[in-house]
């Protein structure tokens, strides 16, 4: 395995600190830079930037406007790959929108849709496409395939890479009552290009842990160390926290601990 890049998300409120920082190889971009961001030129000049914006949900084909937006951002960032999510979060007619990542049904029909639309998007990009797994808090009984099998078939039918979000896998294992390592082993790890790692926190509504812009626990870092040894094509690990509440101290300490772990 080549040396892994270790990075974080670009949090604009921490721009001044990130411009001066050491030990961060790349920054993932969840939003385009704002016109008034004074740190953006230095950030762009200094870092490898990964396009990780919302481009659209691939249950439907992306329209021309979304594809052009993706191409423009990819060029602006000089990104080595473009990321999207296995998600379907708004209804076809636009009436209902969850405004939060939500997985599709793991069915043959949705597999065919995602394969077709991901291939169409990939053909329009100048960079490789990677797709990120999304956690489910509950199973929908109409799903026909286990998520890892569905993902394997998706990757087999497309030349896309896998952005493995480890806390997402950890949470699913937690709510299924499985050991995270056992659940992880089901996923197509040979396709992993990038890994996300972050913390989880108790959520009162869910009555259990959920994704949070928090430092990864020792347990999560141990899970990362385990996962990385099973992802021979991995190129990068990203501390997945993007929030105005994130402190510079938490970001830098997390990246440092990830580096120490690996």
């Amino acid at each position: 395995m080549a040396a892994l890049m270790i990075g974080a998300f670009y949090n604009p409120h921490l721009g001044a600190e990130l411009v001066r920082a050491d030990g961060i190889d790349h920054l993932a971009m969840a939003d385009p830079p704002t016109a008034g961001d004074p740190h953006w030129p230095a950030i762009r000049a200094r870092y490898t930037l990964l396009l990780h914006d919302y481009l659209g949900q691939l249950s439907e084909p992306l329209d021309e406007r979304s594809i052009e937006r993706a191409r423009t951002l990819a060029e602006l960032y000089r990104t080595p790959w473009v990321a999207e999510h296995f998600q379907c979060l708004h209804t076809v007619d636009g009436t209902y929108n969850l405004n939060y990542v939500f997985p599709p049904l793991y069915s043959e029909d949705f597999l065919e849709r995602f394969v077709r639309n991901a291939n169409a998007l990939r053909a329009r990009l100048d960079q490789p496409l990677v797709m990120e797994n999304i956690p489910g808090f509950f199973d929908v009984r109409a799903s026909q395939l286990p998520e890892p099998v569905w993902l394997r078939r998706f990757f087999d039918a497309t030349e896309t890479g896998f952005l493995l979000d480890l806390p997402h896998v950890w949470l699913e294992a937690h709510y299924r009552g499985l050991k995270p390592e056992r659940w992880l082993a089901e996923f197509p790890l040979d396709r992993v290009v990038e890994l996300h790692v972050a913390g989880v926190e108790e959520d009162n509504d869910l009555g259990g842990p959920w994704i949070a812009p928090a430092e990864p626990s020792d347990e999560m870092l141990g899970f990362l160390a385990h996962a990385v040894t099973r992802c021979p094509q991995a190129k990068a690990v990203t501390f997945d926290a993007f929030s105005p509440s994130l402190t510079a101290e938490a970001l830098f300490r997390s990246v440092e601990r990830i580096r120490e772990t690996l």
């Binding site: 659209g56 949900q57 249950s59 439907e60 084909p61 992306l62 329209d63 021309e64 406007r65 979304s66 379907c88 979060l89 708004h90 209804t91 076809v92 007619d93 636009g94 009436t95 209902y96 929108n97 969850l98 405004n99 939060y100 939500f102 599709p104 049904l105 069915s107 029909d109 949705f110 849709r113 808090f137 509950f138 199973d139 929908v140 009984r141 109409a142 959520d203 509504d205 869910l206 009555g207 959920w210 105005p244």
Partner: protein, 261 residues
């Protein structure tokens, strides 16, 4: 039912609390009802947290004076009471949540009295949040030619539902950028009668523009039936001036045209 329609049904159940309670949803037995309910509550808090923090960012910047953070309402009983009726993204729920914020921050007592324009600021922020609500276009229909004025033949213009005209006693646009910069003394807004137009594009982009009496008249008259000549006469504008104004209003999302077939 197709898988895509089924997915839409699950999305609707998570977004629409009354539907989640309906027999139509419950008898389908698609998912564990307790898990669905918990996830829906989580989504509702997340959905409105994001919007309250965004749209009430100016009164949030004043929280060190008012001691009232707008997003605090999301963990208070008022929001809990709303949960059984919440429909994510609906105008009605946006109004109800915005009203919770207006009441909470506006009731800051002596701390808020130092900010003479606080009530109007909250009204402005609430209007932004409500205008943003409603169904949106996520993908362009390849047949439609996209949003905006377009090149089709213009017929009777129509004010887009949800567009708001605010009449204020303070010139808020002057003070808003100052509130987001570092300050020690509370920035003050000039006491000056100000009309603002708040509108949303079909893709959900909210825009604000200063307005005039002519624009206000135009928005009142544009009902999808009156011709350009009738509108020009009613708003007291030359036709050329009217067309230019309409172009700007279409860009903002305040007015739409049906295009010639």
């Amino acid at each position: 039912m197709s898988d895509r329609a089924l997915q839409d049904d699950v999305i609707r159940a998570l977004a629409d609390a009354p539907y989640r309670k309906s027999a139509a949803w419950r008898t389908r037995g698609l998912a564990d009802p307790d898990r669905v309910e918990r996830f829906a509550r989580f989504l509702a808090r997340h959905f409105y947290h994001e919007r309250v923090v965004h749209f009430f960012k100016y009164s949030r910047a004043l929280a060190r004076v008012t001691r009232r953070r707008p997003e605090a309402v999301l963990t208070r009983p008022g929001f809990e009471a709303l949960v059984p009726s919440i429909v994510l993204g609906s105008r009605q729920t946006a109004k109800a949540v915005a009203q919770l914020v207006v009441t909470h921050v506006g009731d800051a007592g002596d701390a808020g009295a130092a900010i003479r324009y606080l009530g109007e600021l909250l009204r402005y922020e609430a209007a932004m949040m409500v205008v943003e609500a409603g169904p949106r276009i996520w993908r362009e229909d390849p047949e439609s030619g996209g949003e905006g004025a377009g090149s089709g033949e213009w017929s009777a213009p129509e004010t887009v539902e949800g567009t708001v005209l605010l009449e204020l006693a303070y010139d808020l646009p002057v003070v808003l950028p100052e509130l987001l910069r570092p300050w020690s003394e509370v920035p003050q807004a000039p006491a000056r009668s100000t009309k603002l137009l708040v509108a949303r594009s079909p893709r959900g982009r909210v825009a604000v523009a200063r307005s005039t009496d002519a624009v206000a008249a135009l928005l009142r008259l544009a009902d999808g039936r009156k011709t350009l000549a009738e509108l020009a006469q009613g708003a007291g504008l030359e036709v050329r001036e009217l067309e230019q104004t309409l172009r700007g209003l279409v860009e903002l999302g305040a007015v739409r045209f049906s295009t010639g077939s």
